[in-house]
Each structure stands twice: as structure tokens, then as C-alpha cells.
């Protein structure tokens, strides 16, 4: 008799885990709370570092969603029960789904930029988040970001909600740096005469081609990088934004006016992950992301036999890394279902 796995979460990690397990001959049930699959990937226009269309990645993941996968969209889980090594997931509408293994792939939320009150997101007219900019790029291909604006000066603020004790997030979100560099280049491509300033603490261009992209931003596109954390933003009478920052390389305080301020919002653990982890008694780290049973050797297993983790519910990760993690998770689940090992 074939074994069944339930995947909770239909973003990149959930879709890839589901597709892989299905190809390994395991019956897969995929539960997604939203009306469609793809999670945050659907909000991206182009991906770093090569700026391929995000749609290409989605199309690949979607191909894996063949008939062997039972898909439950708009589905919220009200309870999870366990008896005799079997899991029963109860949906809010009363439907019950059972399986031999569970994979949590519930992802992350974006940091709510309103919590950095001093930056004025949600208050000042010209302060937006990197996610909003990406949405703009996705929905308005090649359209000028600043119709009607004369001077075109853009500030990009790194580490919003990350590496910030004040908001309770000490961890690095890892991918905001490269996102900021990518978006700076894209703004410059659209508006060659725009002045673009990135305000950063230090640039963590850790992955392949990231550092090259940072060089390209400076050498080819003339993006200016100022090492200093923004202390505050305020709105001028003409709705431009006044920013204050210390340029820590020159040791001087700096005050400048920008037409648009973009906040690079980081990852935060999602409340849905916390809720489901609570039902299953899973371990949370100091950073509130979920912990696998062994960071090095069992990165997809938990202390709860039959329950596995995939993707960014364990912490910030790129799409490429998430896909690798999802495949690793699928292999671990398959091994558990075949050999009974976690």
C-alpha cells in the first residue's frame, strides 16, 4: 500500500517538496491557505542575481503539480491529531485528511515596516517597501516610477526589521542586500538620470554572483553606497522625504532629500507557522524560526517523528536555497516512509 504525506504550505518549498515526493511514488496532499499556489514567489518580478523572470521558476514548480497530488486551496487547518503513527489534519470546513508523514512548509512573513515608526511607512506618501516596488515592477513593465517628478533621487534603506535589537530581530535576513542592489539597478535602467543611494550597515553579498552584482551596481550603474543606518525620515512640505543618516566612513552626519524612500523589509516568522508548531510541539529558536533536530545532519527532521520542515520557516533563505532544501526534505520524508527512519 502506498504511503501518504501531507505538505502544509504551497509556496516554493511546499510545491517543490510535493513535486519531488510525488515523483518518488508517494501520495501527496498539498494544503494551501491562499486561493493559489506560489506564495511570495508570485509577488516577484525578476529574481537575483541573474534577473530571470520569477514566472519561469513558478512554471517549473507548477509542472510538478500533476494529477497525483491532491490539492486543497483556501484551506485553513483547525487541528492536527496523531494516533498509531498516522496524522489526521482537520480543516476548518470539517474535512479530515490523513497521512503517514507531515511536512511543514509554511514559509515566512515580510517584516511590517510600520514597526520602524521613525521611517514613516504608512504615514509619509513617498515611503514604500521593497515588496511594493517589486509589485510595481511586476505590474507595470517598463513604466516610469516617477511620472511627473522632476528630480529623481531614490534612497534604499537596508536591514529594515533585520539585525535590529529595537524591533526584537537580531538575525540577518540575508537577501535584502542583494534585493536592494538588484532593485537599484532596475530603477536605474528605467530612469538613467536617477540618483540612487543605498544606506547599509555592511553588505552581505554571500552567494555566487552577488558580489559581482554589487560591483556592477557601482561601476556600470553608478549606484552610491553610504555606510550608515538611517536614524529617521521626515516628510518635507513638497512630500519629498528628508533622511538623516551618519556616513560612518567619513564620520559625518548626513541629511538629504529623496523623492522616494524604499525600505528593504526582511523575513519574520509567520504566525501560522507558530500556531501549527504549537499543535505539534515543535521547537522554536531564539529568533522564533523553527529548529530542525540537527542543524548540520538532519536539517529537515524534527524531534517529532514523522514531522518534517522545509524552506523559510527555519529562517531566511533564497529561492535557490529553498528549492535545494525542499528536495532534501522530500528525500528525508521518503526515507522515513520506506525505512521508518527520520
Amino acid at each position: 500500500m502506498s504511503k501518504t504525506a501531507i505538505i502544509i504550505g504551497g509556496g516554493v518549498a511546499g510545491m517543490e517538496t510535493a513535486g519531488q515526493l510525488n515523483r518518488l511514488g508517494i501520495e501527496v496532499v498539498l494544503i494551501e491557505k491562499q486561493a493559489s499556489l506560489g506564495g511570495h514567489l508570485k509577488n516577484w518580478d525578476r529574481l537575483f542575481p541573474d534577473r530571470r523572470e520569477s514566472q519561469e521558476v513558478f512554471d517549473y514548480l507548477e509542472k510538478g503539480m500533476n494529477d497525483g497530488i491532491s490539492l486543497y486551496l483556501n484551506a485553513t487547518i483547525s487541528d492536527i491529531r496523531e494516533a498509531g503513527g498516522k496524522f489526521t489534519v482537520i480543516l476548518e470546513d470539517g474535512r479530515e485528511l490523513s497521512s503517514d508523514a507531515l511536512v511543514l512548509a509554511t514559509g515566512y512573513d515580510l517584516f511590517d515596516a510600520r514597526k520602524k515608526e521613525e521611517y514613516g511607512f504608512g504615514i509619509y506618501d513617498n515611503v514604500i517597501t521593497s515588496a511594493e516596488l517589486e509589485e510595481f515592477f511586476r505590474n507595470n513593465k517598463q513604466k516610469n516610477l516617477f511620472e511627473g517628478v522632476q528630480s529623481k533621487r531614490v534612497g534604499i534603506v537596508h536591514c529594515v526589521g533585520s539585525r535590529d535589537e529595537k524591533v526584537g530581530n537580531l538575525y540577518c535576513s540575508k537577501l535584502c542586500c542583494v534585493t536592494g542592489v538588484k532593485q537599484a539597478i532596475e530603477i536605474r535602467e528605467l530612469m538613467p538620470d536617477a540618483e540612487i543611494f543605498c544606506f547599509y550597515m555592511d553588505l552581505r553579498m554571500f552567494d555566487r554572483h552577488f558580489e559581482e552584482m554589487y560591483y556592477e551596481a557601482q561601476e556600470k550603474w553608478g549606484i552610491r553606497f553610504i555606510r550608515g543606518r538611517l536614524s529617521e525620515a521626515a516628510e518635507n512640505p513638497d512630500h519629498t522625504i528628508l533622511v538623516k543618516v551618519e556616513d560612518t566612513l567619513t564620520g559625518l552626519p548626513l541629511k538629504m532629500k529623496v523623492d522616494l524612500l524604499i525600505l528593504l523589509v526582511g523575513f519574520v516568522p509567520s504566525p501560522e507557522t507558530k500556531r501549527l508548531a504549537g499543535m505539534l510541539g515543535l521547537k522554536e529558536g531564539d529568533d522564533r524560526f523553527l529548529c530542525p533536530s540537527d542543524e548540520h545532519l538532519l536539517p529537515n527532521s524534527t524531534d517529532h517523528p514523522g514531522v518534517f520542515l522545509a524552506g523559510t520557516l527555519k529562517g531566511p533563505a533564497s529561492i535557490a536555497a529553498t528549492i535545494v532544501d525542499a528536495r532534501a526534505a522530500a528525500l528525508q520524508v521518503a526515507e522515513y516512509l520506506v525505512n521508518g527512519e527520520r
Partner: protein, 360 residues
């Protein structure tokens, strides 16, 4: 500017403010700077709102200025704060209200320290007992006097004789508010509206009919910032701080500045005079300045108190243009008269800043 965003933050930062029975502690410097403010608070609370406010004349400085200038060690400050609490306990009160922002910040800091480091509280109790034989209970509620006025702002509006409206045009008076750093920058949750968009003064301005102006340098220091002023050599920095604020608010044509802290009205008022003498620059129309009021003075004006009883004649920036706009009645002849009618003398008229009563 999206007001909904601010309202969200204001909802997030609400605090408990006691309703009655206040143990009131004064500021070290306000009675010299703005002599009618504390008197106005007591008059409003006792006579108009019929609240019980108790003062013990043997209360001392909280030591805040000494503490923030590194002269008084924290243990000493803690013990002095403990003594104020002992006076409150002995008088049978539980709600502690301070006139001074720096005191409010220090009381909040000491209580917060005791919460996280109970051994520090034990130390303070021991020091106080050894020095004075006194013991104390911690207050149930600590508020700044502006919190209390904020709590009763609607009652004040109802009883009020005037609204912050230009009597000729019917337009609201445009007000800039300045909150004072120690009110909520140290402990955002202790201030109404938090640290970045504090609401305590805005609530008064709105309910009394005025319009609030947000301007780019709203958060910038008023110019007191102890090190800038107490160290005489740094005073140029103090005046440049104030000037930065005036330059930033000027395009919005504010008609008044409302303040919360002992230092802010002092520097925002006095430095307007200094800048006018140094550079010939004034920030109001026709050589006038922007009048600077404390929240007690403004509450007093709204309630119809005589401006000279409120001590407005000691302001360096004359308040008459504002009084005239609102239509507040006053006798220009009594500006420099004491309560018994005797002459209190008058300052030398500034060169550039328009002086009232205008001299022929």
C-alpha cells in the same frame, strides 16, 4: 502625510492615567522660566476640575539634571526618587504626577530598573532607611502633568471660554507641538502616542480647536539637550538646534508652538529673541515671533484665565498676536503690573522682534 497611519500608532500607545487623587511634584526650573504654569495646573485641577491634588513642600529635586550631566550617581538619584515616593506614601497617595519631563523620565527609569533588577530596589530601600528612616510603596500610577491635562482635555474644552480658532477667518490656529525628549523617547510605552508621533499635546490641540503641523525637523532637539546648554562653550550648538527647527517649521506658517518640557519652551522662546538680535531674523509675520506656550498656559487661556495671571508677560516672544487672533481679552496696560497694581518693570525692547505693547 497619511493620518490613518498615525492613528494606528496612537492606538498602539495608550497608557493608564489616574482619574483623581494626585501627589504632585514640581520642577526645579519651571517656576523661574514660566512662573504661571504650575500654578495654572493646580488651579485647573483643584478649582475647575475639582480634583484632589496634594503637594508636600519638603519634596526635593529628583536630581535629574545632575544625573543626566554625570554629577549625581544613579544610586543617589534612586534614593532621592525613593524619598519622593516615601512622601507620597506617608500622605496616603498612590498616583504620582510630575511637572517636569526629565523627572518623569527619571521616575520611569528608576521604576523600570527596579522591575528588572530587584536588588537595586532593595539597595534604594536600604539607603533611604539608613539616611532618613523612611519607607515607601511604589506608586500605582505615574503620569506627567501633561498626561493628566490630556486625560481631562475634553472637560477643559467643554468648560472653555475660547477655542483655538482665528476669530476673524474661522480657521483653526496652526500649532507646532514639541514633546520633550525625556517624555517618551526613553520609554515609548510610557508616553501617550509613543516616541515617534507622540499624541499627548496633539490630543489637546485637536480637542481645543487647533490644527497640528508636522514638519521635517519635528523630532529634532529644542536646543536644551543638557550638554549643549549647561556647558557654556556649547551654547552656539544649542541656538543652532533651535534655529534648525524654526527654519524647518517656518514654511508652514505656524501661529504657535506648544511644549511639554521645562527646557523646550525656554529655548524655543528665548532663542527666537537671540536669533533676531544676532541675525535680524524673525519667524512670524511683520517682525513678530512664533509664541511659545506650555500646555498649562494654553489650558488656562482656553479656560479664560487672564494671560497676565498665567505669566505670559515673561515670555520673550510676545503672545499678543496669538491672543488677538483667538480674541482673548486682556488689558495691555496690566502686562507689567503685579497683582497689587504695582509696576514690575519692563524689559528693554528688542531691536528686531516686535514688542508689545507697541511703543509710539
Amino acid at each position: 502625510m497619511k493620518i490613518e497611519g498615525k492613528k494606528q500608532i496612537w492606538n498602539d500607545y495608550q497608557k493608564e492615567i489616574a482619574e483623581d487623587h494626585f501627589f504632585y511634584v514640581r520642577s526645579c526650573i519651571r517656576q523661574n522660566f514660566f512662573p504661571g504654569s504650575e500654578k495654572s495646573f493646580l488651579r485647573i485641577m483643584k478649582e475647575e476640575l475639582k480634583k484632589d491634588v496634594y503637594e508636600n513642600p519638603s519634596h526635593t529635586t529628583c536630581s535629574g539634571i545632575g544625573y543626566h550631566t554625570d554629577i549625581v550617581p544613579f544610586e543617589t538619584s534612586m534614593t532621592m526618587v525613593a524619598r519622593q515616593f516615601a512622601l507620597m506614601t506617608e500622605a496616603g497617595y498612590e498616583n504620582f504626577t510630575t511637572s517636569c519631563i526629565t523627572s518623569f523620565g527619571l521616575y520611569s527609569e528608576v521604576l523600570n530598573t527596579w522591575e528588572h533588577e530587584p536588588e537595586m530596589e532593595e539597595k534604594a530601600r536600604e539607603f533611604l532607611y539608613k539616611a532618613t528612616g523612611r519607607e515607601f510603596k511604589k506608586p500605582k500610577n505615574v503620569s506627567h502633568a501633561s498626561d493628566v491635562i490630556y486625560r481631562f482635555r475634553k472637560e477643559i474644552a467643554e468648560k472653555g471660554k475660547y477655542r483655538l480658532v482665528n476669530k476673524l477667518t474661522g480657521e483653526p490656529i496652526r500649532v507646532v507641538e514639541h514633546i520633550g525628549c525625556h517624555y517618551s523617547k526613553m520609554f515609548p510605552s510610557k508616553g501617550v502616542g509613543g516616541a515617534e508621533y507622540p499624541y499627548v499635546l496633539i490630543g489637546m490641540i485637536e480637542d481645543w480647536g487647533g490644527e497640528v503641523i508636522d514638519y521635517p525637523e519635528r523630532r529634532h532637539c529644542c536646543g536644551f539637550g543638557f550638554r549643549q546648554y549647561l556647558v557654556q562653550a556649547n551654547r552656539g550648538f544649542s541656538v543652532s538646534c533651535s534655529k534648525k527647527k524654526f527654519d524647518s517649521m517656518e514654511p508652514y506658517q505656524p501661529e504657535m508652538i506648544l511644549t511639554n518640557c521645562p527646557g523646550c519652551p525656554m529655548f524655543l522662546d528665548r532663542w527666537q529673541y537671540a536669533i533676531s538680535e544676532m541675525e535680524g531674523k524673525t519667524y512670524g509675520p511683520d517682525g513678530t515671533g512664533i509664541p511659545v506656550l506650555t500646555y498649562e498656559e494654553l489650558a488656562g487661556l482656553v479656560l479664560g484665565h487672564d494671560p497676565w495671571d498665567l505669566g505670559l508677560q515673561v515670555h520673550q516672544v510676545p503672545v499678543e498676536p496669538l491672543l488677538d487672533k483667538i480674541g482673548i481679552s486682556y488689558d495691555p496696560e496690566k502686562k507689567f503690573k503685579a497683582a497689587d497694581g504695582s509696576d514690575i518693570g519692563r524689559p528693554e525692547a528688542p531691536v528686531y522682534l516686535k514688542f508689545y505693547p507697541e511703543q509710539a
